[in-house]
Symmetry: C2
Subunit: 291 residues, 2 copies
Amino acid sequence: MRNLSEDTITQAVLARHKDAPDARVKEIMTALVQHLHAFAREVTLTEAEWFEGIRFLTEVGHITNDQRQEFILLSDTLGLSMLVIAMNNRKPEGCTEATVFGPFHVEGAPQYALGADVANGARGEPCFVRGHLRGLDGRPVADATIDVWQADETGLYDVQYKDLQRHRARGVLHAGPDGEFHFRTIVANAYPIPNDGPVGRLLQALNRHPWRPAHLHFMIKAPGYETLVTHVFRDGDKYLDSDAVFGVRSSLIAEWVRQAPGTAPDGTRLDVPYYTLDFDFVLNPAPAGAR
Amino acid sequence: MRNLSEDTITQAVLARHKDAPDARVKEIMTALVQHLHAFAREVTLTEAEWFEGIRFLTEVGHITNDQRQEFILLSDTLGLSMLVIAMNNRKPEGCTEATVFGPFHVEGAPQYALGADVANGARGEPCFVRGHLRGLDGRPVADATIDVWQADETGLYDVQYKDLQRHRARGVLHAGPDGEFHFRTIVANAYPIPNDGPVGRLLQALNRHPWRPAHLHFMIKAPGYETLVTHVFRDGDKYLDSDAVFGVRSSLIAEWVRQAPGTAPDGTRLDVPYYTLDFDFVLNPAPAGAR
């Protein structure tokens, strides 16, 4: 420990952790130090580059506040978030896959009856969504809560509007006893992630765009099943192959079907075109004993 | 790119960087993403642990300001800083080794004549430092600037005192034409790195102490030689084997020799014990053409 060099320092750091009281903390920090050092060695990181990294992280820290989480954005754009989600949501073949949660979910969104318009004034073309919730065994899922949220036609979530006093284009629904659900909303559109900060500049340095393909968020909870956090992506979107946060899974792409003006699925008469989206979700049974 | 899973996501992220205009940025980000993902896979990072990491980095960002750089402290305590310094300061056998720069250097410290007391009022036992600067070929180094800085007897640097109007225990000296230097200061003491923030809590979770062994900082610049940033460590310090930032190299440990009250090396009469420190530095010639 008195003769540290580039060859001995990693082991010296790990030896210092040997008495960490929590085995999991020790395991995580051991792997972290090894990979951090291996990274620096692999690229022979210069002192100037190291300092640029310090500056970058400082900026990420300083732009982060209650409204904006630039570290999550960094994790999302480097694919770390999606990797963690995929590893922690390994579901049997046939279950609907999970994807990133994103930063725009709100606890306590308005509750709506089936068939209601969750847009609540958000601007966009009308869209009627419907589907069924089933378990992996094909049985209908009863007593499910469906939390939906999305961006409006300008690509913004309600929480991104300053001074907006009510929730728009988000809501909580309760599916029928047979797992059926339907509601009205607006068509989802592609939008760029916040790109006026250090993460935006990193994407630019990598010649990457900040866009996410159009999607509708779902969080579905039902007794006896694992909670499912996912999106449905809009087929045909030009960013499906280059989602800035790597959230796309083929099984989650669906068609928003354009319909001519006329009588909508909820019986209202529309004199503008509207869209319909049908999507069924398959939930994974929770392990016995789990709630 | 439409079917990302935990097995395919790393390659998908790397593919996205393929058109990065700067080859070095691309190289660094490729290695970073690979190691970041490998780390998460190796420990099967949970979603809760991932979020704890986000929280930790956010806190590091929020405590960092103009006076305090918690990201550098994090890099130091994880051994990354010392690794980067070692890799970028590979010197031939026989040269004085480099170590961490630390956060307490100040540009524009007071200039002193050889023999002066750089303590400038800082509290501590008197210490007389002297030595020679030589090149690797043994020839005296002419025209050298020696920047020294250190903590006082309470373990604090002058910049850590609020409202202190002058520099203490730091200064810039010019060595003689034969490379000789000598100055008066105070004895260096061990001190803890700032440990009231997230990095302090991390050290605690790893059962690590925050102490650095006593040391005197040097930055030595001379025409025709590589700049040397290093410390001299005090032999016998109980933290030499466990420096919180991994800066110790055996070749940098020296004895602070305790002397009985009497006539000090500068001719002054001292009625308290004092210390002497003798240390010679060997500089690496700069590559031809470098300044």
